[in-house]
Symmetry: C2
Subunit: 190 residues, 2 copies
DNA sequence: GTCTATATGCTGATAGAC
DNA sequence: GTCTATCAGCATATAGAC
């Protein structure tokens, strides 16, 4: 028997916020809708979180903690610099596309007026440093712009949620494989 | 002397809406703010457009018309399938990143509740068919997934507005060159 | 075509009982 | 910790004068 605790309910609330943010976007998601989703009243939210902006920051913290842990775990025991990059991409896409709501709420433009924007960007940068390291480990042609390569790959991945559907096209792992293979091997046959 | 006409003012209004949508996002941009930006009163907007949703659709129509024209024009006289792809990418990124407001307002997740979502997606698809054609013209290794390639490249490009800054990193044209070269040549030197 | 004035409803947030 | 009740403000949109 798990008795409901304050931490418990905060977690449920966070989950509810993630659902609403990912479904409607931050601005369109109302505190009422979040409260409904969590099965409580609007006012009760403010016992757990100071403001809506605060809630968005908390969702980012949790989402980036989760995806960071998943991506790091996926690297365990994988050898070869390109294979490790692919494994990280697969983990990133799996969690973004199929364990949807949480990470999904976060991989989109940050509303321009929220308090805590800076912190949100810092959290993202910290997560993305995993990819910086993986790309630094690659042997690349002299003069390759590794920063642009990272941003290109992350961009391709983060945009997938606008077009990917579970029923058609490649699964997340296959997508990662294709993205990395395209970059690794090159496509010009002329 | 150009006398203000209805069409004139509708255009100004559209421009104002694009500015506000790209600055704050659709949901956070108020009709008041748009009216301010256009130098008129809120109620006057409704003479030109039926609703806020309608205004978003109109902004998409104009933005995709512009970027479609720019990208097509950029292909004039360019030869070589890869060179043509790069030229289109350069045009796409130039207009997205430096002629900002209009296209910028459009290259982001579509709010889930707007009337006219279907039309917006159709407008996007029509524009992206330029890239479908360019990629179909490439000689690629057998078995290459051309759809995923297109979506990968467009994703990498469309995500740039979240990180690109005019003062640091590659210019839009250089970015296009790097993106396409990475895919064309491949990066594995082992 | 643009204005003033206003309708109606929803927003994030607070006060205070339990 | 969660509730009921409520605030003040802003949202989109409309009516009708000019």
């Amino acid at each position: 028997m798990t008795k409901p605790t304050a931490a418990n309910r905060s977690g449920q609330l966070l989950e509810a916020a993630a659902v609403c943010f990912s479904r409607e976007g931050f601005d369109a998601a109302s505190m009422r809708a979040i409260a409904d989703e969590a099965g409580m009243r609007t006012a009760s939210i403010y016992y757990h979180f100071d403001s809506k902006d605060n809630l968005l920051v908390a969702v980012h913290e949790e989402a980036l903690r989760r995806i960071g842990a998943a991506t790091t775990a996926a690297l365990h025991d994988v050898e070869g610099a390109w294979e490790r990059l692919e494994a990280a991409c697969a983990a990133h896409l799996v969690i973004l596309l199929t364990e949807g709501t949480f990470v999904n709420a976060v991989m989109r433009p940050v509303p321009s007026k929220v308090e805590g924007r800076e912190l949100i960007f810092k959290l993202r940068d910290d997560y993305e440093s995993i990819f910086t390291d993986l790309i630094n480990a690659l042997a690349l042609p002299q003069g390759t712009d590794r920063d642009t390569l990272r941003l290109m790959l992350l961009g391709a991945m983060n945009w997938t949620f606008t077009w990917w559907h579970p029923k058609e096209g490649p699964a997340p792992e296959a997508l990662a494989s294709i993205f990395v293979a395209n970059l690794r091997t090159g496509l010009d046959v002329t």
